[in-house]
């Protein structure tokens, strides 16, 4: 049994008395009530449980909470504030694009899709369609929302490109 202190969405959270092998997923969901991160397969196949560890997308079903100690963890609940000016509670551009294009069907996979896409766009802000396909291939959507997920990523990346251009112009 272990006590772990985690940094989640910029907050320090301590969880007592968990088995050393407890996946981060179940600590988020059961111990901390952060249920936006979903259980889909438990085996690393579906991506529904994707969160960020130091900005990189990881499968929280396949990483123990103990291993996440010391890392900056971001879950879907904390995505809105990321990369935005302080105090700005606007949605992440991907979340907004998801709403604008009405991406979700059942919605169950979407937190994982968005978290994967967010980490991907951070690394590759103006991707090609093939880049998007490759980056998103680890996330299953059983409802088959792929067409719109791709459109929404493109929409958000266009928005990001526009913002980046804006910023550059301002600097000049």
């Amino acid at each position: 049994m272990a006590t772990v202190t985690l940094t989640i969405n910029d907050q320090i959270r301590t969880v007592e008395d968990i088995a050393e092998d407890t996946p981060l997923l179940w600590v988020l969901r059961d111990s901390l009530g952060l249920v936006g991160t979903k259980y889909g397969c438990g085996g690393g196949y579906c991506g529904a449980c994707t969160v960020h560890l130091n900005g990189l997308p990881v499968r929280s079903c396949s990483v123990t909470a103990v291993a996440a100690v010391g890392a900056k963890i971001t879950t879907i609940e904390g995505l809105a504030n990321e990369g935005l000016a302080q105090g700005d509670k606007h949605l992440h551009p991907l979340q907004q694009a998801w709403i604008d294009l009405d991406v979700p069907q059942c919605g169950y996979c979407q937190a994982g899709q968005i978290m994967t896409a967010a980490a991907f766009l951070d690394a590759n802000p103006s991707p090609s369609d093939a880049d998007i396909d490759q980056a998103m291939a680890g996330n299953i959507c059983r409802c088959g929302c792929y067409v719109r997920i791709k459109q929404a990523i493109r929409m958000a990346s266009d928005g990001l490109a526009y913002n980046a251009m804006d910023a550059e112009e301002q600097q000049v």
Binding site: Q105, Y108, Q134, G138
Partner: protein, 719 residues
Amino acid sequence: MNTSRREFIKLTGVVGGGLVIGFHLPTGAETKAASLNAYVQIRPDNTIIIAAKNPELGQGVKTALPMIVAEELDVEWAQVEVIQSAVDYLRYGSQFAWGSHSVPDNWIVLRRVGASARAMLVQAAARQWDVAPQACSTQSGRVSHPQQKGSLSYGELASAAAGMPIPGDDQLKLKSRDQFRLIGQRISGVDNRAIVTGQPLFGIDQQIPGLHYAVYEKCPATGGTVKTANLEEVRKLPGVSHVFELVGNGETTELMPGVAIIANSTWAAFSARKQLKVEWELSDAASDSWTQTQKRARELAAGNGEDVVVSHGAVESALAGAGRSHTAFYAYPYVAHAAMEPQNCSAHYHDGSCDVWASSQTPQSALGNVAGLLNIPTSAVTLHQTRCGGGFGRRLMNDTVCEAAAISQRAGVPVKLQWSREDDMAHDFYRVGGFHALRGGLDEEGRVVAWDDHFITFSENGKSPSRGGDMKASVFPVPMVTNARITRTQLASGIPSGYWRAPGSNAIAFAVQSFIHELAATAGRDHLEFLLELMAMPLQSGAKLDGLNPERAARVITAAAEQAGWHKPRPAGTGLGLAFYYSHRGHVAEVAEVSVDKNRKLALHRVTVAADVGPIINLSGAESQVQGSVIDGFSTMMGLELSIEGGRIQESNFHQYRPLRMPDAPQIDVHFLDSDYPPTGLGEPALPPLAPAVGNAIFSATGIRVRELPLAKSGFSLV
């Protein structure tokens, strides 16, 4: 109906379908909302709260049904707040999600609900102004009158309106189609913001105070019972509070025998379960082997079926006398629903009553299931409807709800029962496999004169076909062919069957619509022209169409072909394939465009869909359903198959059972044909035509005919 509820009801109006809308919702003091009927509440700030009655599993009814109410109520969508209704037959009539029923069943009722509330608001305004209600008009949630300065908001009128008599159906004037402002628009799903910010919406997200976490181990071969189990050992494991055996009631749809483990976290329960050792008594357990079944079906294919589903004309002599004839044997496997949210349910049994929080497609049946199992009255069961992480027919069965309720009753604590993905794969109600031995005869002009289908399916009770495993006598083209017959053989099976998206059509379409193309090719004729000719043939006497409208069918077939560029020349190695299917009141034609190389590497580039389902309610949701159906259809035909040996499903998770992923998704062009027929649902009808359209496209591209699903079996793989 108990007394308190009876007192609460004001029986002042009845709306079609036996639905009483005179029931006012109890209004929460905190909301200060006035209730106009069971669906509509209005706050003083002119927020309109509309109740969504049916389960939402991704098919979009939580948005589309309230849109219908809002249209007739004459409010702006931005004013509307949607809440999930309680499960209550008296107030909402039947509440369920299957068969693409929500829109057609509720279309008129919900328009009356909106119009009735609107009429009451107008009455209230007319009284305040002392004018005739007929002279008042409404727009954007406000009532106005030509002689009155300004207008009154619904919010200002709501409490007075709530006291007005509820008008009878005959007093209501519904809008004409050209007056619709909201219906037909693109509206983003009402839960989208909550979904993308990770709010607790789904069954699995529910957190009840004092919750314990449960798992339930059942025999992997359905029907097996517990012989021995190391309960004592498991009880000592960390976090475990209860371990016990349940004998169940023998109903696969309710409670089968097994061992429950309750712990202080999901992980503790999952971990303890790894140490659980159960020896199963298998004498009554399923023992199916898919390998054996396929062999048996091939042997049977030569003869006719045990019973005749439909027969007209003289099939045998017509086949014998036909200028040309053609035979083919089609096969498709068992498949699973594999909804993204693994089955789960929270239940709290206390003091003779039971609360359940469940993602169910049939919440009203669940009440009866739980009551019967726990031996308490139905009125003592409350089901809290949650959003469902996919259904596809899986959540029509309330087995998980029954298990959770029984475990809570036995342990005396609130529990969340969590199935693993492996449980979900092992204990589904599967879409049964099936086989078709088809024979067709053509006359000298290449017209179909004979059609014979020996349909081989499954039966669990030895009497009737498995759920979703029957074939209708009306399956096109049977009603139009002079000499036509369907015979049926049922193979005994112990594998639980269920309804899977577009049951009765989802795989039959593959066999039938592929074989029509085979006959066109045998006749050396263009498939489009051949299909349209067949559709235009007169109905045989005594034959039934069961809702198929040949004119609507011809329109969608023509439109899909036109939009896809049917007659344009094509590069070698690519091909177009066409298919039509009528199911769940929807007429849908699809054209698939594929390319295939020498190594059978396949790419599905584009699917063109033309559908006639009457006027569209929510264009965004409707289009999404079609896209999802196309991808589901392709995913399933390409690589999904369950191997069954010893009555056990061999595929345990997504590494073995592999739904399609983004890189393999095609472009999908959706065309809804405008029609004045009443609107019908879209959860299902766009799925059946996909597989035959792709199969036919592969034939056009390569000359290779695929007659067995999934395609992976014939060496096809995705580029």
